[in-house]
Symmetry: C2
Subunit: 311 residues, 2 copies
């Protein structure tokens, strides 16, 4: 894989940015990596580990002469960062982001970018429950999807280069409309996270079952929920606040559906439960066939060990 950008600047150095840096180095996609983070501790770790070629104290410095600027901050921080870097961007450079919602990020970032700078929003569908500059690894994006959501007016060559950059990091790239992206992700990621957070919270509140019992006897179901519910709180707060309409729609549908199952249980309608539970098996099979998961059984231990940073 040959070099695609000369200088790439990362604003924010968490799980996604550090994984992109490792994946980009693995494939030699850029000559030089510049990075910065709001927290002095994160910058110190990045310097200590040599995560970037250059670590700057401010975003304004980081983007100077960068051919690609990657915004890897929480969705709620995008506007402030865009306002800071806007005046310092190199004419003709490309700005992208990795936010989990796209409509709100476009509204926050686009107005601050000068004429001649290409904004190509993107969202890699990959992650773990860990965060921070030491949580990244080069394999995170391998064979995963990255959704790129440029508008019709966006410079085609800038879009093609970013597509090549993501493919170079191992990802499958697809294009999507921002609003549809926000709805699809609400279903496949955001709502499941909110629901997992809720279930873990309920378990925690329930006085008659102690935390230690919940912990000791957590069967696979609950363990999976806690893994999801351990994800970065700031990121998720911003996701829900910035994808409000889709969240409200899906939660409404979810509560409606849950109540009909609740009624089936109360009235003892075993046929409804059985046919419902049977139907949900089909999607699972589809996911395995789509190669996004493995058919190997997960009995709650060792998940990801084979492919995590330790492995």
């Amino acid at each position: 894989m040959s070099q695609i950008y000369d200088r790439v600047a990362y604003i924010g150095l968490g799980l996604i940015a550090s994984s992109m840096i490792h994946a980009g180095r693995r494939a030699g996609l850029q000559r030089e990596i510049v990075g910065t983070a709001r927290s002095a501790e994160t910058r110190a770790i990045a310097r200590e580990d040599g995560l970037c070629d250059i670590v700057t104290d401010t975003a304004a410095e980081a983007v100077k002469d960068a051919d690609l600027v990657v915004l890897c901050v929480p969705v709620g921080a995008m506007e402030k960062v865009a306002a800071e870097i806007g005046p310092c961007l190199k004419p003709g450079c490309t700005v992208t982001d990795v936010g989990s919602v796209k409509r709100a990020v476009i509204a926050a970032v686009q107005p601050h970018l000068p004429e001649g700078v290409h904004f190509v929003p993107a969202h890699p569908l990959a992650g773990t429950e860990h965060s921070g500059p030491r949580s990244g690894f080069a394999e995170l994006f391998d064979n995963r999807y990255t959704l790129v959501v440029p508008d019709a007016a966006t410079d085609k060559e800038a879009v093609a280069r970013l597509e090549a950059f993501w493919k170079g990091m191992g990802a499958n790239v697809e294009f999507m409309d921002p609003d549809h992206h926000d709805l699809v992700l609400m279903v496949t990621s955001h709502a499941p996270h909110l629901i997992a957070y809720t279930m873990v919270g309920v378990a925690d509140d329930l006085g008659r079952v102690t935390d230690s019992e919940v912990i000791k006897y957590s069967a696979a179901g609950f363990r999976d929920f806690t893994r999801i519910a351990a994800s970065d709180p700031t990121m998720w707060r911003d996701v829900f606040l910035n994808n409000k309409d889709a969240t409200m729609e899906i939660l409404g549908r979810f509560i409606e559906e849950l109540m009909s199952l609740q009624r089936a249980i109360r009235t003892g309608d075993g046929d409804q439960l059985h046919s419902y539970f049977t139907r949900t098996r089909a999607i699972r099979r589809g996911i395995i066939e789509a190669g996004q998961d493995t058919a190997a059984p997960d009995f709650g231990r060792g998940g990801g060990q084979t492919e995590g940073p330790s492995g």
Copy 2:
């Protein structure tokens, strides 16, 4: 590990029974294994694979001269099986089960057991999303909890032998009151399963997001849900129908909690969301410290591969 029982009979030959058979052989816990299943296909597979030393066509034949009878049928089938085997049980033998709910199983089974037969209900907290006589493996129970719920009058020696049997299969054994068991499991396993089923069903119903999109772009959150929601429909139907009160209580709490988070999102209360999401991280840490899961990140692929039957 020395032999604990002479003859052990398994009624039902699914994931749990086949795993117990493999684990029992691994440790030499019994001289002879007898098994039967309602389905002729399952019995044929068991004979073909040599899963048991003897495969009988009926439960009544299977339990003859057995020192331990293990009921591994769905909770809803326990009463019928108990009524069939009751007259054929060897005096002084022990009957146990592996049902996910205990109060309802005790009510269904106990009345059909003759004087002098020891009923020691149990529940191994282990499983995968697969089922059937070929889904079992000897490691399933290693370092997992098996909850044993005898009543005060139960013969101590019979309880001690069953405890030794489960420890021989690799499990940690703890004792619990049946009602408390049903509440704890509702929180840690049953409710998460119902919620996962619901979310997968909602995704499936949602017209504007196609199944193929849901499948292609399923991020870790949704993938974990589909894995849970792929569990055996009959088993889970019976769990919910037989643990109705705890289900209703937890679902009520869950919906209440979910609606308060929904309101926080609608009103833009970021602080409430952030503190809520932060709190849920603590239970996750507790589970890792309790050794019931690994801190290795799970990015949605290879779960269990290292420890599944293939590995």
